[in-house]
Symmetry: C2
């Protein structure tokens, strides 16, 4: 998605520690009109998959997933919660998640009420790097018996192992911008 690559180059900032900050439009401040373009791009890639539900994970995935839902007949979005809040049902699917960003281990939870064997599920997130979040959501989806049509992520650090790990499970992964290499000194090079 060229508009996304341009936006990353224009507005993204590379910080030490392999951090790409895109928080001016994607995951802190949100450009809602641009998210609709992102949703359109996901529709193009998954248009033949009869998606009936989108699963994502709090917090940054929610805006992406809701924008994308509009292009899949406003299918329901369900977002996995991290940890166990007092108002989270015990009747939930769980999976472990290690967050490299936060340097902590979580359990993610999705209520059993909102996933079923009838769901043709698109799993979404803003970033794909080590693949921990997708792996946890895939576990939850498999526990529920959902048909996973694929994973859609906005930005993939293709030089990190997550994308290959998920694709090696036989699960389709579509990322709108795939970063081949990135450094403070040399900037960003995209795949292809």
């Amino acid at each position: 998605m060229d508009a996304l690559k341009n936006r990353i180059v224009t507005d993204g900032r590379i910080l030490k520690g392999d951090i790409l900050k895109v928080d001016s439009f994607l995951n802190h401040q949100i450009d809602v009109a641009f998210l609709n373009e992102i949703g359109t791009a996901f529709k193009e890639r998954f248009k033949d998959c009869e998606v009936t539900k989108i699963m994502t994970i709090e917090a940054s995935g929610i805006a992406v997933a809701c924008a994308t839902s509009q292009f899949f007949n406003y299918c329901p979005v369900v977002f996995a919660k991290k940890g166990n809040a007092a108002n989270m049902s015990d009747d939930a699917y769980h999976a472990p998640l290690h967050s490299y960003t936060r340097g902590a281990d979580f359990v993610i939870s999705v209520s059993r009420d909102y996933l079923s064997k009838e769901d043709k599920l698109l799993i979404m997130d803003d970033f794909l790097a080590n693949g921990e979040a997708l792996k946890a959501m895939i576990s939850v989806a498999q526990q529920a018996g959902c048909q996973i049509v694929g994973c859609g992520t906005v930005i993939e650090k293709a030089y990190q192992p997550g994308g290959e790990m998920i694709r090696n499970k036989g699960i389709r992964v579509e990322s709108l911008a795939r970063i081949k290499s990135m450094s403070v000194e040399n900037g960003i090079e995209f795949c292809q």
Copy 2:
């Protein structure tokens, strides 16, 4: 907003501990088409306020805020983060937040890059009960010198002190459904 009240009565579940679960459409599974109706209702209430930015807090507020943005010329949404992630800039506004739901204390953070004195800010959240989240966001907005046009929440537990506390600060609060009383035995009674 009658459609919302009806939806709460139809799909909400009252649990012990003063919990209203609306996670089938608002804060776990999300009905994106219905959120657009909610956004329309907020537009009606704040249409004369020249809103230029919406602030909310992760996680449940994000979907509401993004849906609402569409009706305010796709103004930027910025969501406050809880805790301090490794990729959160130190150059941020902070405020303390006690979460009754999670029984924990957080610090919320918003980057200084995304709030300014020029902003006419609408502060949003899904629920208003004790008002802790709104209070923390108001503190952040005041540190940044924003003009707060008001607070918009989807569901207000009007029998709890948050709404009155915020209104007593001279800040406008609009809630689309205000609950006067609620119990497992007697169900929900709305204000008005």
